[in-house]
Symmetry: C2
Subunit: 237 residues, 2 copies
DNA sequence: GGCTTTTCGTGATCCTGATCACGGTGCGAT
DNA sequence: ATCGCACCGTGATCAGGATCACGAAAAGCC
């Protein structure tokens, strides 16, 4: 089955290859079956908006493939990216549960597919499947932890270089492969800047600086971590 | 009934004066009754620690009276205060639900009473009272929102004066009385600094500066907001 | 009431990162 | 090919806070 943007469409949650790993995916078959019925699915191009900060919550999106960035902006045009979401992530959960406006904007940065579940259907489903409600609470707790991690990096370390090093290390842990550690870069400097609360120029300079110090090396869109220990020392001086 | 530190002890959730307002308090009588049975209560002096960041979660605390500050620290000794909790707040909820270490330290800054519910008892209670589990999810969502608000202020406004003005306005909205708006100051400059991610000295200077500009006025421990509009202009320039 | 301890006010210095500015590079569209 | 556009690299400048330092004021404590 083919879709726009050269993607395969996943048309059944029960046979989804990443089913085991995530909330709403790793559930008793009966529940997944039910989910499979109440969801609708769509494929989104790059820079499509799933929802926008401040909108009334329509429901949740379960990202099946692709990547999305979650961000929040100020009136002054400043933006913070709070998370890069990947396959399996549930977007808009807290807003939908609590019926408050979406607290972030979700924008695709790599094209992909997402399932949508309306608020009503979700609440109805949760009431029928009490065991899943607790899972939701756990997921919300995890989100909360992640948010806290954000607060810490933004609040406890007010030097961009520290935050930058921390970000690189985070990447090397989650998506890093092999030794030397390689990470594929998908974000622009601008976006990186928005993740660590600084400016595009500073990110550029940090890259240069880290390259000069042999901490990292750049091969096209691939970042190679050359001196992990030194990076860790920057984070915890 | 009298307790140490000159406080009255509240010995029954059903007759608690703030029962109406908060999670775990505003519940069907049967549920409150049950809660009343599984909780234990204690009175804490100033600077008592309810729990410490990184500890395995023992359970949740429901603050009945007094105030507590929630903070998180880095290895480098830097500290951020993420919230000042007041009567009715539930502390340690997300850690307890998800069984991860407490993500913050909770320290009393005004003596008060707190009920404690062990993790096991809470989970058992939630499984018996399914309707409360959703309430918990809602509460977690609210916490999450609050955390987001923190990220925004720390990430979107990197000028201490902006954050300071924002903090003052926040105070005037929640605890402000009368016109001119009066707010009782209970935090030290150091603590204020930890709330807005700056240093003690900068907070001192900001107070002076705001006083010189007639934005606020200080009468002992009482802060009077003289020019709310100007403060708002600092926040949204 | 005197003692220690915490908290506050403010000056002087220094340095980092924001901001502005401009040219280079790479890539997709036509 | 080449035009256009988004992205990147780097220099120059500048201000706002962090940091250090010290004394004054206020708040607990016998």
């Amino acid at each position: 089955m083919r879709a726009p943007y050269g993607l395969n469409i996943l048309d059944n949650c029960l046979t989804c290859p990443t089913r085991e790993e995530h909330l709403f995916c790793n559930l008793p078959p009966a529940a997944v079956q039910k989910l499979n019925e109440i969801r609708s699915t769509a494929v989104y191009p790059k820079s499509a908006m799933l929802f926008i900060e401040g909108q009334q919550p329509r429901g949740v999106f379960v990202l099946c493939t692709g990547k999305a960035k979650l961000s929040t902006s100020s009136a002054g045009g400043r933006t913070v990216i709070t998370k890069i979401s990947e396959a399996g992530d549930v977007l808009g959960l807290s807003a939908t549960i609590s019926n408050r406006p979406y607290e972030v904007t979700a924008e695709m940065i790599e094209p992909g597919q997402a399932n949508f579940i309306t608020r009503d259907a979700l609440l109805h489903f949760l009431r029928e499947h009490g065991e899943v409600a607790l899972r939701v609470a756990e997921q919300l707790s995890r989100n909360y932890y992640a948010a806290y991690e954000g607060i810490r990096t933004l609040g406890l370390t007010n030097s961009p270089s520290e935050r930058f090093a921390k970000l690189l290390l985070g990447w090397s842990n989650t998506s890093g492969n092999g030794d030397p550690l390689q990470v594929k870069l998908t974000l622009t400097h601008e976006e990186i800047a928005e993740m660590i609360g600084t400016t595009r120029e500073t990110v550029s300079r940090l890259f240069s600086q880290f390259r000069r110090k042999q901490l990292v090396q750049l091969k096209g869109a691939t970042l190679i971590i050359r001196n992990k220990a030194a990076l860790e020392k920057i984070v915890n001086p």
